[in-house]
Each structure stands twice: as structure tokens, then as C-alpha cells.
Symmetry: C2
Subunit: 234 residues, 2 copies
């Protein structure tokens, strides 16, 4: 069927040392008895079948890879060069881009393996401060706790007490819980991080107070009725 197996029938003795290394194992018997080209020996048939399996397996492997490449092509804008290497380069670019946008929103405290957009509040309370990668000199504070009407003003007070300034804020409220990400800069850059410590302590108090209020009923302050309306309750 294929023309390649006839290649072995030429009786060529390649000048390369290890050119037929993989074959001598299976064709050693036929190599001792000098073969006629007709009435192929069983070993020869065996080798032929093995070669066929090999090439077909390799074809299947190529097909799998190319199928994935074709799938990747559909995930990119169609204006892209259809070239295989350029396609992969574009995939790298897009992946880096998406990873950056999502990882900036990802809380570094939790496992950042699954770089989901985790502005979605989690079940457990959370407070984490880190230095922003994209905005140097800016602290990114991520917190998650039970929502309550005066929470925003408490956060504001904590930032103010730390002599900080919120340059950007994002928050999501769902199921009575709130998750917020704040980008905070400090007014006096010579403070040497004192503001960051105060900010952490202040926000810690906010989160803990929310936990106390939700778990033990009216704890520090009692304000059961005038709670800010929770969107998820309607």
C-alpha cells in the first residue's frame, strides 16, 4: 500500500551507525537469512504492521493537536493570520491579557489558581491587603463580609483614619453578603507604611463587626430595622 516499506527491500546498508537501530530488534532473524523479495517472512509482515500502526498513531496524534488549534482559531477574532505559529502567538497574547485583567481583580489571599472574576462574595469573611501590581504605591484592599447599611461609611471612616484616599472602588452585593475591592493611596508618602497598618486594623474591625452582628444578633449596636435594603432580597 505504502511505498515506504519497499525501502527496506532494497537491502540497503545505511552508512549511519544507528539508522536502523529500532528495526534490528524485530528483523534480526530475517537479517541473518538473506531474504528473497518474494514470500515475505512473518517477521517482515510484523514489522510492516508495526510501522503502519506507528504512522497511524502519529496521524491521530497530529489530528488531535490540529483539532485543538482549529478550536483556538474559532476563539480568536477572524482577522488573525491563519498561520500556526502566529495563531499560538496571538493565543499567548490574549491569554496574558485576560489573565492580567482578571488577576488584578483576584484576591491574592485565596488561591489564585482559578483566575475567575471573583468579585462574587464568598461564604467566609475575608480581608486582604496587598500592593497593586498595576498601580505602584497603591494598596489594594479586598474584603468580604455580611452587608449592612452603614458598612460603606464605616469603610470610609477607616480609610480616612488611615489618612488614605480611595482612587478606585468596586463592589458586588449578593445574597446579603458584600465583596469590595478598594485601591487606596496614602496622602503622606513619607509615612513609611504606618497608614497601611492603620488601614488594615480599621478594616479588620469593620469585617469583625459585621460577623458579630450577623452571628450573635444585636451585638455592639442594635439597629434591626433601618438596614439598607439588600438588592438580593427583592
Amino acid at each position: 500500500m505504502y511505498s515506504i516499506p519497499s525501502y527496506y527491500e532494497l537491502g540497503s546498508c545505511s552508512s549511519s551507525g544507528n539508522f536502523l537501530q529500532g528495526v534490528v530488534l524485530s528483523s534480526s532473524r530475517t537479517a541473518t537469512t538473506n531474504m528473497g523479495n518474494s514470500s515475505c517472512s512473518t517477521a517482515e509482515k510484523k514489522a510492516e504492521a508495526a510501522s503502519k500502526n506507528h504512522s497511524e498513531a502519529e496521524r491521530r496524534r497530529r489530528k488531535r493537536i490540529n483539532n485543538h488549534l482549529a478550536t483556538l482559531r474559532t476563539l480568536l477574532p477572524k482577522t488573525i493570520k491563519t498561520d500556526k505559529a502566529s495563531l499560538l502567538a496571538e493565543v499567548v497574547r490574549r491569554l496574558r491579557e485576560l489573565k492580567k485583567t482578571t488577576s488584578e481583580f483576584a484576591a491574592n489571599g485565596t488561591n489564585s489558581e482559578t483566575s475567575q472574576s471573583n468579585l462574587f462574595p464568598t461564604e467566609c469573611d475575608e480581608l486582604n491587603l496587598c500592593h497593586s501590581e498595576t498601580e505602584p504605591g497603591t494598596v489594594k484592599a479586598t474584603l468580604c463580609c455580611e452587608d449592612r447599611p452603614e458598612l460603606i461609611s464605616e469603610i470610609t471612616a477607616a480609610v480616612k483614619a488611615a489618612e488614605g484616599k480611595v482612587i478606585r472602588a468596586e463592589m458586588a452585593t449578593v445574597g446579603g453578603r458584600i465583596k469590595s475591592i478598594l485601591w487606596v493611596q496614602f496622602v503622606s508618602p513619607t509615612g513609611g507604611g504606618g497608614g497601611e497598618g492603620r488601614l488594615r486594623r480599621g478594616l479588620k474591625g469593620v469585617v469583625n463587626r459585621a460577623a458579630a452582628l450577623s452571628s450573635t444578633g444585636p451585638g455592639l449596636q442594635a439597629l434591626p430595622d433601618n438596614k439598607r435594603a439588600r438588592l438580593s432580597q427583592y
Copy 2:
């Protein structure tokens, strides 16, 4: 140097019809004059050089592709199978995942080519309702306007009036402007979209009222002092 060129020197006449089609063009002259293996003709040298260029070019191409694959490997968790096909499969999965999360947050009204996370408030007011792709039967409402203290309760009232129920909400406040994305389901599925129209009109009122308040000073209601604190002002 390579053992493969000796393959041609065997004088094999392949049984395949077009097996040497590409070679007869360049080696046709040497094929007519039966060659001795010494004193290679210039054409032969030329063909050899061409073959060398060819294989080297192919090696460079392979290297480019593999470099990109190696780069992709670094962008994925290290626990991944190092297998090439599995790697690409994982890349496809991740790309789809990231694409979905970001495109879900992308407002469909604007151009959704650049799938950035555009929870960031824009300068101009915006109101857009569409059917959620990921949550069937759910309306995704995107709005952007000037922030004000009673805005959340107004949104809540609008959703309530439309007999809707917020199953998820996200919002970002920056620079005194707020952007919010709501996923709304309607309590009576037999309504046939009437609730969606009411929701649109209600939210439209909310956005327009914010615009009126910010542009023309105290418009409908005057409450200049007890405004909810804006995070971005501290």
C-alpha cells in the same frame, strides 16, 4: 553528514507514482548521467544545499511553534500534563472560561470586541437591558449614572415595581459615578415580557433623575448635605 541523502544514492526507483516528484526537477540532469558517488556535480551540491536550507527552515519553524507552546505552559498551573495535545486542550478550556467571564460582564450595547472588564463607570449615562446568555430567563440590566445616596433604594423600587427579583448584582463606584449590573428574574413567568418593559422604564427614570440632579442643581428633591459618602472623595 546526514545519513538520509545516501538514500538517494541507492538508485532506488520507488514504486510510488509521485514519490520523487519534487526531486526530479532539480536532479533531473544528474538522473540522466548515472552518477558516481565521487566528484559531486554542481547541481548535486546545489540540491544538497537547498535541502539543508529546507530542513533548517523547518527546524526554525518548529522552534517558533514550540517556543510558543512553552510560553503557554508557563501561563497555566504547573500541575498540568506536559503533553502537547493536553496542553492545547487546557489552553482552549482556559480561554473559553476567561472569555465567558469577561464577556458576561461586558455590556452588549457597547462594542464587545475588547472583552475588558468594563465595570468601570463611563462618562456618559447608560442604560441597557438584554437577556443573559449564561442565565436563561434572566434579564441583565446595565446602568451607569451619577451616584447619589438614595440610588440603590430607587433601583430596588424600580425592580419591585416591575415584579422582578434581583438574583445577582455588581456595582462599581468611582469618581462620583456608579456603574451597576443587575441580573433580574420576574416573579410571574407568564407575564410575557411586560415586566421587562416596566423595568426598563423604571430604571430609565432612575438614570434620568440622576442626570437632572447633577446638571441642574437641586431639581426634584433637594438634599445637598446628607448625601451618602462617596468613597472616591476621601
